[in-house]
Symmetry: C2
Amino acid sequence: MSTQAGLHTPVSLKARPSAPATLTRCRELVEPALRKAVQGLHPGPGRIAAHAFGWCEADGTPSSGGGGKGVRPALAVLGTEAVSASAEAAIPAAVAIELIHTFSLMHDDIMDGDERRRHRDSAWKAFGTGPAVLAGDALFALAVRTLAEASGAGSGAAVRQLTVMMGELVHGQADDVLFESRPWTGPGAVGLAEYRAMAARKTGALLACATALGPVLAGAPPLLTDTLARAGQQWGLAFQAVDDVLGIWGDPAVTGKPVHSDLRRGKKTLPVLGAMAMDPSLGPRLEGLLTASPDEAAVRRAAGLVEEAGGRAYALRDARTRVAAARDQLRAVPLEASCVDELIALSELLLDRRL
Amino acid sequence: MSTQAGLHTPVSLKARPSAPATLTRCRELVEPALRKAVQGLHPGPGRIAAHAFGWCEADGTPSSGGGGKGVRPALAVLGTEAVSASAEAAIPAAVAIELIHTFSLMHDDIMDGDERRRHRDSAWKAFGTGPAVLAGDALFALAVRTLAEASGAGSGAAVRQLTVMMGELVHGQADDVLFESRPWTGPGAVGLAEYRAMAARKTGALLACATALGPVLAGAPPLLTDTLARAGQQWGLAFQAVDDVLGIWGDPAVTGKPVHSDLRRGKKTLPVLGAMAMDPSLGPRLEGLLTASPDEAAVRRAAGLVEEAGGRAYALRDARTRVAAARDQLRAVPLEASCVDELIALSELLLDRRL
C-alpha cells in the first residue's frame, strides 16, 4: 500500500526527510511550548494531561513515550512552512491542535467506555470520570486560549476556524455514538453517505484544521489554506478508513483493542458499509450474527463475510484514493514543494499502520 | 438584607425597573438568539441542552420554566447598555455567557454527582454521563464560536477574555473538588484566602466576564470594562457566599438539595471557614463530628456550632459588603446611571435568595 501511494515522482532532487524524521523535528519544535502551556494548568487536570501526553505515569513519576506520534502538530508545522511562513509561526496552531486532539480522546474514551489509550490506561480509567471530564475541559479551554493569544495576521480567522471545527467534532462524535444503536438493515440503517459525513466531521475536520490552521494564522491566501484544508480532510477520511480496518482485523497487540472489537460493538464502519453496498444479501446475515451480544464465533464469521464480500479491500482502496487525491490537489497550487513532499510522506504514514 | 443593600440614593428620578422586569426584558432580548444557536446543534446534544435550558422535558416534549433566572445574560446586556452601546450589541456575549454557564453546570453535576439541577433531573441523571459530557462540550464549542463570529470592535479581545475566564473556571472547579478531601484542621486545612481564590475563579470569573464581555465586544475603554469586571467579580463572591449559606441552612424545597448538604459532603465553605477563623476551637470539634460518614445528628450539631460561632452572619456580611463595594465602584466611573441602577438592583437579587 505504501508503495502504491508513493508512486509520485519527487519534484525536488534534495533527499526528502523520512516521515519519522519529520515527526521528530516537529515534535522537538512544538513540545516545549506544549509543555509550557500544560504546566500553567491546575496541578490536578495538569497531571492527567501530562499522563495523556506520555510525560508521566498516573502517580506523577516522569516517563517518556506513551504519547501519540504527533501527526497533527506536524501537519500544522508543515502546512505553515508550505505557505512560506516560518515553522515558529505554526507553534500556537500546533499546540492548540494537539490540545484539542487530546481533549477529544479523553472525552470520547469516557463516552465509549474505552479503558486503554496509547498503550496505557485511558484518563477516566486511571483518574476517574469526573477528573477526566475536567481535564478534558481544561485542555479545550487552553487550546482556544493559546490560539486566541497568538499573534499573526489571521488570528481572528484562526480562532473562528478552530471553533467551527470543534462543533464538527462534537457533531461527528454524536453521530458515531448514535450509529451504534441503529439497525444493520431496513430504513433505519446507516448509509455510506451518512457514514462519510460522520467521518468527515469526527476525523476529517480535525486533520483539515490541523493542516490549514497555521497557514490561516499566518495570513496565507484562501487558495492555499482551502487546498490544505481539503487535503487534510482527505487524510482524515483515509485515516478513519484504515482505523476501521484495524478495528475489525487489527492485531490486538498493536491496536490495544480486542480483535473484531468494532463488530462486537455494532459499529457500522466503512468495510462493513462498503461490503453491504456491494452485496445486498450481507446486511440480513450480519444482522442475524451480530444482534444481541454475539459470541466469538459469530463475530469471527461476520468478519469473514465482510472480507469475502470485499469490504476490507474497499476500505483500503478508499484510503489510498483519498491520499492520492490530496497529493494531486497539493501539487496543483503554489506551495513550497519540499514541504508538500514532507506532507505527502506523512500522509502515507497514516496509511501504513500495521494491519 | 435587601433593605440594607438598598440604602443607596437613586441617582435617577425616573422609576427604576424592578430586577424581575429587567430579567424579563433581557430574556426576551437574548432567548431568540440562544434558541437559534442551540437549534444548530446535533439533535442529540441539542435535546440535552434544550432540557437544561428548560425548553423541553427529557423526552423532548416542549415545556417552559425550569431554566435558570438568566442573571448572567442580563448582566451582559446591562453592562453593554451601561457603556452606551445598544442592547443588541450585547447579544452574542449574552448568548456565549449563558452557554458557558450551562456547560459548566452540566459538567460540574457529573463531577459532583448532583442529581438535581433547576428543579429537574441534571443532564447526566436524565440522559447518561457520556451524552452529558458531549452536550457540555457542544455548548462550550458553541459559546466560543458565537463570540468568535460576532462583529464588534473588540471581537478578538472578547474571545481572549472568554478563554481566560474558561481557564479560571476549570481551575476553580479543580480546587473545589480537591478541597472536599482536605482535612478540617492542621497544616493541610483550607484557609480563608485559599477559599476566596477558589471562589473568585469558580464563581467570580464567570460573573466578571458576564458583566464586562459585552462592553469589551463593543470596544468600550478599559476604565469601564475593568470596573464592570471588578463589580461582576464582587457579585460572584457575594453570590457564592449566599450559596454557601444556602448549602448549609437552605430550605431543601427551595435549593433542591438535602438540608446541611455541604457539611455532609465535607465542603469547606465560607460560613465554616469564617467561623473557624473567629473561633480556633471549632476546627477540631467539626473534625470530630464530620469525619467519616457523619449521621444526621452530627451534621445538625455541626451546623449549630458554625452558626453559634457566627459563621452564617460572617458569610452574609461578606456578601453584603461586596455588593456595596461593587455599587460604589460602578458609581465612581462614567457609566449610564440608569443602567448602573438596574445592575445594582440585579445584584441585590443575588443576595435576596430565600434563606
